[in-house]
């Protein structure tokens, strides 16, 4: 089966699409439940931003950042997480499948296991988070006193794309750890959902060590902090070279590669040890 890389990627995407379609129809067979969940989802995520707005009733700057600037961080962080969660977030159910033994039913189908698992329980109710992120981001872009150069305009969609890839890689990488360690889901949740909340706030309010860990460890800083320094023309609290502000694509590529390799190792370990 010497398929080309392009053919294999195409087949993986198609498998994802087919399985996600099945789940969409499954979930649509409970329409009322779907609508209620969509509303609840949107409301809960919106509360995050309400908290930020309440904070700004007592102060007009947070770590030197204004409300529209925080809105930019909030919109980009939630947006990137939303895209990743919609497309690959379901992978975190892997541990349950290993425990119950239903991972085997995925492995006997002639489609990539990763694609099938990412599409598992795919639900459009997760677009609630995205819509809400888009609304906050749109408002902040109009309210920001930024001089919009072509570079800055281009940076916004680019950072959303790279941010989604980074969060997606963390979802996959974190879930893959469940092959060895059953409770890895908690770690993964704290890095994805917790990480997105961290990125709602400016890096200046956190200790430098924490910010450094998001640059050189888990690459969360590349999702929006570093690119935002460029878009909003802010000083870098770590004093890093300017190149870091444009390094999001590189960080995303590295993260995705690492997650992919980890996934292959995890699946090999599962098939090799059966644990």
């Amino acid at each position: 089966m010497a398929d080309t890389l392009a053919a294999r990627t195409g087949w993986a995407l198609r498998s994802w699409w087919l399985v996600a379609g099945m789940w969409t129809r499954s979930i649509m067979s409970y329409r009322v439940s779907f609508v209620l969940m969509l509303l609840a989802n949107t409301a809960v995520t919106f509360l995050d931003f309400v908290v930020l707005m309440l904070m700004f009733r007592h102060t007009d700057r947070l770590g030197g950042w204004s409300l529209p600037e925080i809105g930019f961080l909030y919109g980009t962080s939630t947006g990137a997480l939303g895209v990743a969660n919609l497309l690959v977030g379901s992978i975190d159910g892997l541990g349950d499948r290993i425990r119950v033994g239903t991972l085997d039913t995925v492995l006997i189908r002639p489609a990539p296991a990763l694609a099938q698992l990412c599409a598992e329980r795919f639900s459009l109710r997760r677009v609630g988070r995205l819509a809400q992120a888009a609304a906050v981001l749109a408002w902040s872009l109009t309210a920001l006193p930024v001089h919009w150069t072509p570079g800055r305009v281009l940076m916004v969609p680019l950072l959303l794309l790279c941010g989604s890839v980074i969060f997606g890689a963390i979802f996959v990488g974190g879930a893959t750890l469940q092959f060895w360690w059953g409770e890895a889901k908690e770690l993964q949740n704290s890095l994805t959902y917790g990480g997105a909340t961290l990125l709602h706030y400016p890096p200046t309010v956190f200790a430098k060590e924490l910010v450094a860990a998001t640059v050189f460890g888990v690459p969360l800083a590349f999702v929006n902090w570093l690119p935002a320094l460029y878009v909003l023309d802010k000083p870098d609290p770590l004093g890093l070279p300017e190149a870091f502000r444009f390094a999001a694509p590189l960080a995303a590529a590295l993260a995705a590669t690492a997650a992919g390799l980890l996934w292959r190792a995890g699946l090999r370990a599962y098939r090799g040890t059966g644990n």
Binding site: M1, S15, L18, V19, M22, R25, S26, I27, S29, Y30, G101, T102, D104, T105, L107, I108, R109, P110, A111, P112, R268, R271, G272, T273, G274, N275
Partner: protein, 325 residues
């Protein structure tokens, strides 16, 4: 060359057990150990053994889900562990206890997904679906959500799903578990049809020996990860040293009968039970009894296959072949 070839295949699992507060002991458990067999194309083979004997481990290795620790394995000329996804298009798998159907969707939708995932050409898909629907009487169920199907209906649905892509080999893991008598016989009739008409090779694990009696000419008994019997169903009696029972009614209460070639296993008033080897003829024993005792009535009981196999399991229990290392 057989369609399934298994040569000296072994598979060990590492089990970690707690020994003290922080210390953990590693222990190697051999699920399958020196497994050897070949299945020819078109055969229907029963694969039986007690729980934990290594049946599921074998099936998982034959589908490529598990990589063997040692030995050589070929299914349809490919190494399943290396070409799992490619092989998946050529085999069908039915797990009796886990459905692959989509719970909330009509049965038909699961088949449509199979058509796309297995890339089944339209004409072939239509013909296969039509045949399965007819043989398994699924016509009225196609538009019913799977969650509303009974267990027997769902199993029939699963069987059809596993056969739409014309697999060369069909693995069935307890396909009749939990089904009522009518559903069981329907499933068996269908499998016989698939095996004889389509020439699909079938490997079937079960605890219901009627499945084997009605479907398989060949049976493999596995215990402690090794094949302890491989041959016809009839041969099991000989291999298991089974005995026929002669139930003798005498005119009066007598001392236990003593004739050559038989021994008394039980007495109850004038009735006595004699055991004779399954392969031996009952006639000389009968003649001897009739000549020396006041015989009123008698009957011969054939050994039950369940008993034969149970004896086979327990005898290999007595000589464990290095189950743990």
């Amino acid at each position: 060359m057989g369609i399934i070839e298994v040569h000296n295949v072994s598979r060990t699992f590492t089990v970690r057990t707690r020994a003290g507060r922080l210390r953990r002991e590693k222990r190697e458990v051999r699920a399958v150990d020196g497994l050897d067999f070949t299945v020819e194309e078109g055969e229907c083979v029963g694969y039986i053994g007690p729980n934990g004997a290594g049946k599921s481990t074998t099936i998982k290795m034959l589908t490529g889900i598990l990589v063997p620790t040692g030995g050589r394995l070929r299914v349809a000329s490919v190494d399943p562990a290396r070409e799992r996804v490619g092989l998946a298009r050529r085999i069908g798998v039915v797990f009796g206890q886990r459905t692959t159907l989509w719970w909330d969707l009509p049965l038909r939708d699961s088949y449509e997904l199979a058509r796309r995932i297995y890339r089944i050409p339209d004409a072939r898909y239509r013909a296969n679906l039509e045949r399965c629907v007819e043989l398994l009487e699924l016509g009225a169920l196609l538009d019913t959500p799977v969650r509303q199907l009974s267990l027997g209906q769902r199993m029939r649905g699963d069987l059809a799903a596993a056969l739409l892509h014309d697999p060369q080999v069909l693995y069935l893991d307890e396909p009749t578990i939990g089904l009522d008598v009518v559903s069981k016989s329907r499933v068996r009739a269908f499998l016989r049809e698939v095996n004889t008409l389509q020439r699909t090779t079938v490997l079937l694990t079960t605890h219901d020996l009627t499945d084997i009696e009605q479907l398989c000419r060949r049976v493999m008994v596995i215990d402690h990860g090794r094949v302890v019997y491989d041959g016809g169903l009839e041969g099991l009696h000989a291999a298991g040293e089974s005995e026929r029972t002669l139930v003798v009614d005498l005119a009066e209460v007598c001392a236990p009968i003593e004739v050559p070639g038989a021994r008394v296993v039980r007495t109850d008033g004038p009735r006595q039970w004699l055991a004779i080897p399954a392969r031996a003829s009952a006639a000389p024993v009968l003649a001897a009894v009739a000549a020396r005792y006041p015989l009123v009535d008698l009957s011969v009981r054939e050994p039950a296959i369940e008993d034969v196999i149970a004896r086979m399991y327990s005898s290999s229990e007595a000589h464990p072949k290095g189950a743990t290392v």
